[in-house]
Symmetry: C2
DNA sequence: TTCAGATGTATCAGCTCGATACATCGCTCA
DNA sequence: TGAGCGATGTATCGAGCTGATACATCTGAA
C-alpha cells in the first residue's frame, strides 16, 4: 500500500507475471494486446505499480541467465514471489463491486481462466445488473426532461443505449454458458442426473 | 488557464450555460442526462471548472430575480459573458485530434446542433479513422502474438472489436447523411446542379 | 416532530494519462 | 564507416479526473 497501485492494475500485472516473467516494456505490450480495444495502460501507471509490488515483496527481479551476464543488463525482468502468488489468488477469488466497473471488468474477464466458476458468474451477473441499473437511470432521466432534445442528442442517446443493450445480451449468453457448464459438472459430481435442481 | 479546465469540460459547461443559466448541481444533472451512457461528470471536476471559468471572466454569477432576494440565496447561478460566448464559438469551430478521443467525442457530438456542417464532418471522419487505426493495431498485435490465447481472452477480443466495428458503421451512416445534406445545400446555393463538382 | 432523502456547494487523497527525457540496440542507406 | 532512424527500454512529472466525504438546507411523509 506504500506506493500507488489501484487493485485492477495489480491484478493485471500479477496475472501477467504469473504466466511468465517480463520486464516493464514487454509487460505493457502484452497487457495491451491481451485487453485489445478495452483498455491500454501507460508507463506512468505501470512503472509505479511495479515499484510498489517490488516494495511489498510480491515480485522480485529475476537473475539474468548466465549467458547474458557479460553485457550490462538494461532489462529488469520481474517474477512473482510466493506472496505474489498468494495475493493473485486473493484477487482472483474476491469479486466486489469494483470488478464490474468499466475499467476493471475487462481485466477480470481476461483472467477468467484462472478464476473459479462461481466467481466468474458473480462478476458477469454483477456487471449485467450494473449496466441495467445505469440504463434505467438514463432512461428515467431522459423521460423526466421537459424540454425536447435535438436530433443529434437523441441519436447519441439511442446509439449509447443500443450499445449497452448489446453488451447485456452478450453477458446473458456468457452467463447461460457458464451456468450450463456449472450444472453439467454439478450433475457429474452427483453421479445421478435427478430432475430437481 | 489559471485553474483546472480540460477543454472538453469547458465545452460542456459553456455549451450548457449558453442554452440557459444554471447552478452547479443542476448543471451536473443536465450534462449527465444529455450525455446518457457516454459519460458522467463529478463535482470534483465541475466545481473547479466553474471556478476557473469565473476567474477568467467567461461566466458570471447571475443576479437572483427580485422575488427570491428575501431568502438567503444558496444557489449560485452562472451565465455566459460575451467573452464566454466567444470562447464557446471558438471551441465549436476548432476540431483537433482531441475531438475524437473517447471522452471528448460524446461532448462534441452532443453540441453538434451548434457547430458548422464542415466541422461536424471533420469530427466524425476523424473519429472514424482513429477507431480504424486502433482496430488495425489491435488486430496486428493479436496476429503477431505467438502463444495462443484462451477462449475467454479471445471472446473479449471478439466482442471488443465487434463493438467498435458497429460504431464505425454508425459513423458511416452519420457521415453519409451529413454529406447528403451538405451536397443538397451546396446545389441549392449554386442554383445550377452541374455534374462536375 | 422527526427523520430520510433530495438539493446544494466544496474539497481532498489517490490514481491515471500523455508527454517527455534519456539511453541503447540493430537495421539500412550512402 | 558512420549517420540516421525506429524499436526497445526505464523513468518521471504536471495536469486532471473520480469517488468519497463533509456539511448545510429544504421538503414531505410518517
Amino acid at each position: 500500500m506504500t506506493v500507488s497501485r489501484s487493485g485492477v492494475l495489480e491484478l493485471a500485472v500479477l496475472g501477467s507475471l504469473h504466466e511468465n516473467p517480463l520486464h516493464g516494456y514487454e509487460l505493457r505490450k502484452r497487457l495491451n494486446t491481451l485487453l485489445g480495444m478495452f483498455r491500454a495502460f501507460s508507463y506512468g501507471s505501470l512503472y509505479p505499480c511495479l515499484k510498489g509490488l517490488l516494495n511489498d515483496g510480491l515480485i522480485v527481479e529475476e537473475e539474468p541467465p548466465d549467458d547474458v551476464v557479460l553485457g550490462r543488463r538494461s532489462k529488469i525482468v520481474y517474477k512473482l514471489t510466493a506472496e505474489g502468488k498468494e495475493r493473485l489468488q486473493e484477487l482472483l477469488t474476491q469479486a466486489g463491486p469494483s470488478s464490474w466497473e468499466d475499467e476493471s471488468f475487462g481485466i477480470h474477464f481476461a483472467f477468467f481462466r484462472h478464476t473459479e466458476a462461481e466467481v466468474r458468474l458473480r462478476i458477469l451477473e454483477g456487471r449485467r445488473s450494473r449496466l441495467e441499473e445505469r440504463m434505467e437511470n438514463v432512461r428515467t432521466a431522459l423521460a423526466r426532461t421537459r424540454e425536447r432534445l435535438d436530433s443529434y442528442t437523441l441519436e447519441l442517446q439511442r446509439h449509447g443505449l443500443e450499445s449497452v443493450e448489446r453488451e447485456v445480451r452478450w453477458l446473458n449468453e456468457l452467463i447461460n454458458t457458464e451456468r450450463a457448464q456449472a450444472d453439467k459438472s454439478q450433475s457429474e459430481r452427483d453421479k445421478r442426473p435427478d430432475s430437481d435442481e
